[in-house]
Symmetry: C3
Subunit: 343 residues, 3 copies
Amino acid sequence: MTEGRDIRLSKAAKLVGGELHGPDATVYGFCSLDVPHPGAVAFVERLGRFDPAAEPRPSGLIVPRLIDGLDGTGQIVVKNPRLAFVRLMQFFHPAARVEDDFRHASAVIATDAVIGEPSHIGPGCVIEPGAVIGAGTRISAQAYIGEDVRIGEECLLHPGVKILHGVQIGDRCIIGAGTVIGSDGFGFVADGEEILKVPQVGTVLIGNDVEIGANCSIDRAALDATLIGDMTKIDNLVQVGHNVRIGRRVRIAAQCGFAGGASVGDDALFAGQVGVAPAVNIGNRAMAGAQAGVTHAVYDGQVVSGYPAREHRRQLMVEAACNRLPELIKKFERLIDEKGSGE
Amino acid sequence: MTEGRDIRLSKAAKLVGGELHGPDATVYGFCSLDVPHPGAVAFVERLGRFDPAAEPRPSGLIVPRLIDGLDGTGQIVVKNPRLAFVRLMQFFHPAARVEDDFRHASAVIATDAVIGEPSHIGPGCVIEPGAVIGAGTRISAQAYIGEDVRIGEECLLHPGVKILHGVQIGDRCIIGAGTVIGSDGFGFVADGEEILKVPQVGTVLIGNDVEIGANCSIDRAALDATLIGDMTKIDNLVQVGHNVRIGRRVRIAAQCGFAGGASVGDDALFAGQVGVAPAVNIGNRAMAGAQAGVTHAVYDGQVVSGYPAREHRRQLMVEAACNRLPELIKKFERLIDEKGSGE
Amino acid sequence: MTEGRDIRLSKAAKLVGGELHGPDATVYGFCSLDVPHPGAVAFVERLGRFDPAAEPRPSGLIVPRLIDGLDGTGQIVVKNPRLAFVRLMQFFHPAARVEDDFRHASAVIATDAVIGEPSHIGPGCVIEPGAVIGAGTRISAQAYIGEDVRIGEECLLHPGVKILHGVQIGDRCIIGAGTVIGSDGFGFVADGEEILKVPQVGTVLIGNDVEIGANCSIDRAALDATLIGDMTKIDNLVQVGHNVRIGRRVRIAAQCGFAGGASVGDDALFAGQVGVAPAVNIGNRAMAGAQAGVTHAVYDGQVVSGYPAREHRRQLMVEAACNRLPELIKKFERLIDEKGSGE
């Protein structure tokens, strides 16, 4: 059980807009059904996968409809149990707010940096000249905020984040530990034996409510800006190349890579380890399956997978066909043989 | 040659349980057969790949059986030359022990952190309140140890490691530079136009003798704990999602990714860049080939490869069949044509 | 527009060895044709993709041949517009030179480290004993330079770079934020139930003019050295295993991984997310397509793609053939049926 504040189930039901059936117990935290805990509340997404005989049983369950034979357990009936559970978790574990203004003595803060109040600057941080940081933002230990960086209000930067010069980040963003934003794009031009570096003089603009995971790298544009839209969520170890444009409410799982100049519409979804080729356009609400290699444009709402990425249903047909191939070839060769011997 | 302490070959033979033939020279370090060095010891794994005429020749060779015509070279005969060589390397290069208690003046250490003695806290480290660190552990420069983290005895944390709040690590673990343990899992729930963050309130529990490479990210669980079992070894840039459970003595090569809720048994092996889909179960002693996309359960001892991952032998058959396909299609089309023209 | 110094187009033309046609305006920076800006200079690579009617129009254009009907716009005609543009960018944005010797007070610098002058050591850096750093080199904030590391002249290390003990880096190298060089190779030997760590006692040697991106990991050799040749360019999140040897002028896109002992010749190219298997040899001027899984040797000049990587033209044929397979199988089955019913 993960402990939080204690709450009566009747109050929890009110919070999530559900209806309580059974005893109005007090619960002290959350648990999963894998590791159930009396005194906690859990949620049941699919009734068919819930075992009413399992012991111990949580004191509270959030359910899509009432389960029979659970006397002694308070059930909160809601339409979307997962959503209600998350709402309740957010009540128990509200996002940590910065209440008191704090600058650790070991932080190196440029005198002309403009830092809203209250805000939190942890130990070992470096804030370079011209940086602007909004009120309510927490810069955890050992973070680096480069020259002229702008970070909005109520952001949370985890330890060791590196935001390089000129990058702009909106409000309420979360940046994972070790992530680098504003690294140079990978741009070179061959000149005979020499390889010239293309100066990467653009920047990165990140909207509001964006979350980026740990140890990612988001490159600055060669010219203009690499863009990440409002409410987009990016997992760990993701690469975003220079001049990539990612829309709003996009979700990108771990280890995806977007090559330079790729663009992604709103509400798109990427499973893990997807690669997107340079300058490829991906539409709104598009989806890419895990490890897809997206080499061509994906239209609005299209679902693709495989390498090279195709329409997902087609990819499944091709996979199934390939899987039958060894036996089909034997059959085919027998046919050829018969035909040969029959002639 | 990599220098170490000097040792007589007779003593080396005793250390590795082998038998010395030829001169009892003194050696000063190690070399590979690619860059051979007189005065050093090398090992020969496969006799067929050893060239007895190559110059210069190391003073000592660890061999599976005596090689003729190597007068002047001491040969140590053992069953497993690689293992004997590693044992000898460990003698020459013992794991660095913390002998003297050390706290660099620049380290920021919470007054209520409990740190065993002797231990080493390098420059620029940050140790937050409630952290517990065992005796014999070395925390290299610029590491971050969050609130209530527990680290066992005789661990080695390389520079810039970030261990976030509440994570627990056993004894004798090695964590590579830049690695983040305890980053938030990637959990969101859509609520109309809004995307709610699922609070990630679980933790990460790491066993004893675990090694994790550089720039990895190991997510904390949403609830409960992400688990990594005793003696498991993880290479660089690996992603371990929330609530993943990895067993004991598992070896995971670089850039693998395990999506949320995946589980891995004991003694499994993963080649590089493998992806494992959410909640997939992988058995004991299972193996996954490089770049495999594991979308379904893998049973104990099964070897899989390809995308989507299949039984490896089947995958090889399918690959071979696909590789023949362009010519087979021509043949097939000729057959159809003949049939057409024959009608 | 990205601002820089102002320059007359006639002078710009001279700098890039081109010929100016039209008005000799003064420009103040650069722009792309996606976000055109009066007062800036842009380049046109392919005339067919340039819209002469687009507004606003940059004051200067670098073009492969004169474009008609662009009165009022200065055109600089050169053979290779991209190269000329990059040369001009380098004029506007010269690589930042270290002019004044600087050691931030918070940097922890071993007294016996040898540091050329002028050089720049940023806040929070740690320089260990025996390190040697050349003149003109900038070590940005929070970097770690281990014992006996040697870094040449005029290098740029971005924030949070970790160079571990004994690594050697040449002149004019750029290392991206968060990158780790000299992490332990992934070497273990099973001994019954135990897994022994192979001491990684080699090092990493990096040539001159090498650029490495953000959050990479470059492992030290088990014995001898991991090698990266002059002028090689490596993107973000790339894994280079122990004892890998990479030649000169190689370009490696993001998220590639090279397993232990792989070798790469000069002038090779790797698109993103490529994996190279252990000890595989890749020739000079070879190319690997995105996500390729290179399991066998690639000869000089060969282009490979796919998994397992094949000759690229063959891979395209196999892909095309597989894509036709679902329909071909139907046809084949009809043929078998007819044959059956015809008997």
